[in-house]
Amino acid sequence: MANRQRYRNRIEILQGTLDLLVLQTLQWGPQHGYGIAQAIQASSSDVLQVDTGSLYPALHRLEKQGWIAATWKLSAKKQRTRVYRLTAAGRRQLASERSKWQRLVDAMTGILARPQESES
């Protein structure tokens, strides 16, 4: 059961990191909500599963802050789809979020890499 296996390996996305993931994904070009979810899932080798109930509030929040912009586009099948793209402000925000994230990772790694002390 590959499906179940995949499910077991999934990790809940950390609070606050979804915004960074969305911005990072949109860096490669405009995308709709479903596409963003799929891209995150795919680029994390199916480890990260994006919950729709978090994704759309996040998209609308980022849009409100002016970091991404949305337009309705007609798809190949002539269907209206809402497509998001990164704005200039969003690009700056991405850079700052990335460096913040990097510092956090470095710090965490530093702590976790320290040899474990005996508890007794």
Partner: protein, 887 residues
């Protein structure tokens, strides 16, 4: 907002479509794919809700939605809504009304520009001041005022005093309230005339030709607001006086609670007096109050120090000739101080401040009881709505959202209640001021619903809403969907905790009700005790006639004969049983006092009230003579000076019998030298200043042995109704000389008026106590009824196992008993503490009176048992079979 919603729905639909397409492309069957995609995306409406919250501004839409929903619920359950709104309107309304009055007498500054910059200059104490006191508020004499103006540099200062005028030229007097003011009065207050001009320093010169300014209200009332009044004259004290202008509307002078009709300069007081000198020159008439603003560069501290520094010189240079030797030291030691004066002065404020604050506190407690009641009702409703709420939680509503919605319901109740309350408060406040009104004092209290009043009502509303709404809302949403949906429709799941909270609320209600009932009983007993006081005379059928003969312009040697003639005429009127002259009408608030001693024993000096009464006065009054004789025509201006004393006075002389024939010396006063009098009679004690006072030595001089004035006051006993008597007296006196005017005081009415405070406290506290008891009854009934419903299965089982109806009744009433016991215990403690704060307002009843406490506990217990008896009866009628089958 609608478009945005539609777009979001479309966006999510596309998301779902694409997920299905992907799955189908991966080879899943379309039906399976659709189901799986749906599962993956989760609760669509929850996603929408969460996204919408990001947009912001949603709370407005939510509020509208919640309000609609709340209104629908109230329409479906109008009884609850009406009870809730009514109790809130009464609770908040009573508080707001009292606050409106407190605001008007206590908090609001005078309606002049920069009221905070206004200061009062007055005597630190009245010790050392002797003479004639014309003001209820500490005041100074004309010489002190002049000397102060001469020497002080700190203030722009003015002086003023109350004045009374009679507008009628013949027959019954028409009173006009006036003010004497120094020339700078209007300038310093920075007031502008509504018509013409106001008084200026040029109008206030010794020997001036008096000019008058009318109040706006008087101008409207007496002249219909006719602008041509300016330049015409008004006749006051037989003199035509030019009207130079009209004061601005809304200005009622510096005394809160009173108003004026006409303002005259200080100089006019002397000009208009019968002897042409008036009180103005006298250094022993204390009548002027002084207000002003600090000059640039001065502070209150510096000004106070300045006043203290110049006080000795002022009093040294104004010491009146012939001032009583014992008081000279005191006079010279007097000091002037400055105090903030932005709120003016107010007799009303001084007499009613503490009763008003107390009533406000009582009304606050009633509001707390009403809140507890509403919280109880809402808790009961929350229990009934558990299923609805759990279904909504199950369908994806967040708990916060439901709490908000339940609070919106409370908010709607409070908002409607508060709007009703503000309207109600206006009516109640006006009623309250009318209740303070007496025949003698014309209380003018502009009740303005200002920001303070509205803020107070708003604050109350918010506090109330949180107080009764929050706990039920939080409690009500602490349910899990499954537990309730599984439970029976009876709401058996209602937690112990919820019931405990409701019990606590009822205990609070009982405790506060006991305290409020106790308080109201104390005030009712106080009123009864005051009404039961024997004044020492028969007040029924007594009336006082004040005859003013100023316009006759009689020479001093003709006045005594005129007074005798007036007395005779009144005595001759059919229905009049007797009439005698009097100076101080008992219980009228007027008073006079002197130190006296037995002629040869100066060390046995004591203080006594004094009065001047004519022949036959005690017979008219209905006071019994204990020994000796009444004054009679033998007591003439040239015969031996005689006095009659009361029993308390006689005790100082060794008893009534021993007192007769003793000689009493009276201290010298600023007006008269020391004098000795022979006691010819002893009369039983009677009230002098107030009904509540303990007996005090009182000495009566013979009116016929005193210089007669142009004003004659007669104490009259009549067997006819007062209105008939006054009409005959007016007719008879006008017939004697049409230039005489007369005004009347009906003694029983006057006594009634002195008890305004006791009446008000008794009536309002009783009303509040009753309201509290009714609210508690409702609360207790609701709780017991709920408890019976909740325990119906248990009761059914008990009855099936053979419990009798009496057992069941006892079972239910036991719950009431426990609540009552706890509530009463707490309430008794609260009552004791509360009684202590009210002790100064009580009369002949102790603030911790055990009998009153027991009475209030018994009353409340009876109410509580009555409230729980109905549901308890219902419990005994439960059919065991029905109750068990319902399970």
């Amino acid at each position: 907002m609608k478009d945005r919603d539609a777009e979001l729905r479309e966006e999510l639909k596309r998301h779902l479509d694409m997920a299905v397409e992907d799955r189908v492309a991966r080879g899943e069957l379309p039906a399976e794919a659709a189901a799986a995609a749906r599962r993956e995306i989760g609760n669509l409406s929850q996603v929408q809700e969460a996204t919408r919250d990001v947009w912001g501004g949603r709370w407005l839409a939510h509020l509208a939605q919640d309000l609609r929903y709340a209104a629908r619920i109230f329409r479906r359950n109008p009884a609850f809504a009406v009870v809730a709104i009514l109790s809130l309107a009464l609770g908040i309304g009573a508080n707001t009304a009292l606050f409106e009055v407190v605001d008007a007498v206590r908090l609001r500054p005078l309606p002049v520009s920069d009221p905070d910059g206004l200061f009062e200059v007055r005597l630190a104490t009245l010790e050392g001041a002797r003479g004639n006191f014309q003001s209820w508020h500490p005041a100074v004499t004309q010489p002190v005022w002049r000397e102060l103006q001469e020497r002080q540099q700190a203030f722009d200062l003015f002086a003023w005093s109350r004045a009374g005028f009679n507008l009628s030229e013949s027959g019954e007097a028409r009173r006009a309230d006036g003010l004497w003011v120094s020339g700078d009065f209007f300038n310093i207050l920075a007031l502008r005339a509504a018509q013409g001009r106001l008084l200026s320093p040029e109008d206030d010169r010794p020997g001036c030709a008096p000019r008058a300014v009318l109040s706006h209200a008087f101008w409207q009332r007496a002249y219909g607001g006719d602008p041509s009044v300016v330049g015409r004259t008004i006749t006051l004290r037989t003199r035509p006086i030019e009207i130079v202008g009209i004061a601005p509307a809304g200005f009622h002078g510096l005394e809160v609670g009173r108003t004026f009709d006409v303002v005259l300069p200080l100089c006019a007081e002397a000009v208009l007096s019968a002897d042409g000198k008036g009180r103005a020159q006298a250094g022993t008439t204390w009548w002027l109050m002084m207000f002003g603003r600090l000059k640039p560069g001065w502070t209150l501290e510096r000004a106070t120090a300045h006043l203290a520094a110049i006080s000795p010189e002022i009093f040294r240079s104004t010491l009146p000739a012939g001032y009583p030797a014992v008081s000279v030291q005191g006079y010279l030691a007097m000091t002037l101080i400055a105090a903030p004066g932005g709120q003016g002065v107010s007799q009303l404020r001084e007499s009613y401040s503490s009763p008003l604050w107390l009533l406000l506190g009582i009304a606050g407690l009633v509001l707390v009881i009403a809140c507890a009641n509403l919280a109880n009702l809402l808790l009961a409703r929350a229990t009934a709505r558990e299923r609805e709420i759990s279904v909504r939680l199950g369908l994806g509503a967040s708990r916060g959202r439901i709490i908000r919605q339940l609070l919106t319901e409370s908010l709607l109740l409070v908002t409607i209640g508060t709007v009703c309350a503000v309207v109600l408060a206006g009516v109640m406040a006006r009623w309250l001021v009318a209740a303070l009104q007496t025949t003698d004092t014309n209380i003018t209290l502009p009740l303005i619903v200002d920001w303070r009043v509205l803020g107070f009502a708003g604050l109350l509303a918010v506090a109330t809403c949180l107080l009764f709404g929050l706990a039920p809302a939080i409690r009500g949403t602490r349910v899990t969907a499954s537990s309730v949906l599984r439970a029976t429709s009876r709401g058996m799941s209602a937690g112990r905790e919820s019931v405990a909270l409701r019990r606590a609320l009822v205990v609070v209600q009982i405790a506060l009700s006991v305290a409020l009932l106790f308080g109201s009983l104390l005030f009712v007993r106080t009123l009864r005790n005051v009404l039961g006081v024997d004044p020492g005379f028969r007040s029924e059928g007594l009336l006082v006639a004040n005859v003013d003969s100023t316009r006759l312009g009689l020479a001093p040697d003709l006045r005594a004969a005129h007074e005798a003639l007036v007395t005779e005429r009144v005595q001759a009127i059919p229905g009049v049983e007797g009439a005698a002259t009097v100076e101080v009408v008992p219980i009228s608030g007027d008073a006079g006092g002197n130190d006296v001693w037995p002629e040869r024993n100066r060390s046995a000096r004591f203080n006594t009230f004094v009065n001047f009464v004519g022949a036959g006065y005690f017979k008219v009054l209905g006071a019994r003579l204990v020994a000796g004789r009444e004054f009679d025509p033998r007591d003439r201006i040239d015969s031996v000076r005689v006095v009659i004393v009361n029993e308390t006075f006689a005790e100082k002389l060794g008893g009534a019998a021993a007192a007769i024939g003793q000689r009493i010396t009276r201290e010298s006063t600023p007006g008269t030298p020391e004098g000795t009098y022979e006691v010819v009679g002893v009369v039983e004690n009677s009230a002098y200043l107030a009904l509540k006072d303990e007996p005090y030595p009182t000495m009566y001089y013979s009116g016929s042995q005193t210089d007669a004035g142009l004003a004659t006051r007669l104490m009259i006993r009549s067997s006819l109704p007062p209105t008939a008597t006054t009409a005959s007296i007016t007719a008879s006196l006008t017939n004697l000389d049409p230039r005489m005017t007369v005004s009347y005081t009906i003694v029983p009415t006057m006594i009634h008026d002195t008890l305004v405070q006791e009446r008000l406290l008794a009536a309002l506290s009783a009303a509040f106590g009753l309201l509290a008891a009714v609210l508690t009854m409702v609360g207790l009934y609701g709780l017991i009824a709920y408890s019976v419903t909740r325990r119906s299965t248990e009761i059914g089982v008990r009855m099936a196992l053979g419990a009798s109806r009496a057992n069941i009744l006892r079972l239910v009433l036991r719950e009431t008993g426990v609540l009552l016991a706890v509530g009463v215990a707490v309430g008794a403690a609260v009552a004791m503490a509360g009684g202590q704060t009210a002790s100064s307002l009580l009369f002949r009843v102790r603030p911790y009176d055990p009998l009153t406490l027991i009475a209030s506990i018994v009353i409340l217990s009876a109410i509580a048992l009555a409230a729980s008896y109905v549901p308890a009866r219902r419990a005994t009628c439960i059919e065991p079979v029905v109750a068990l089958r319902a399970e």
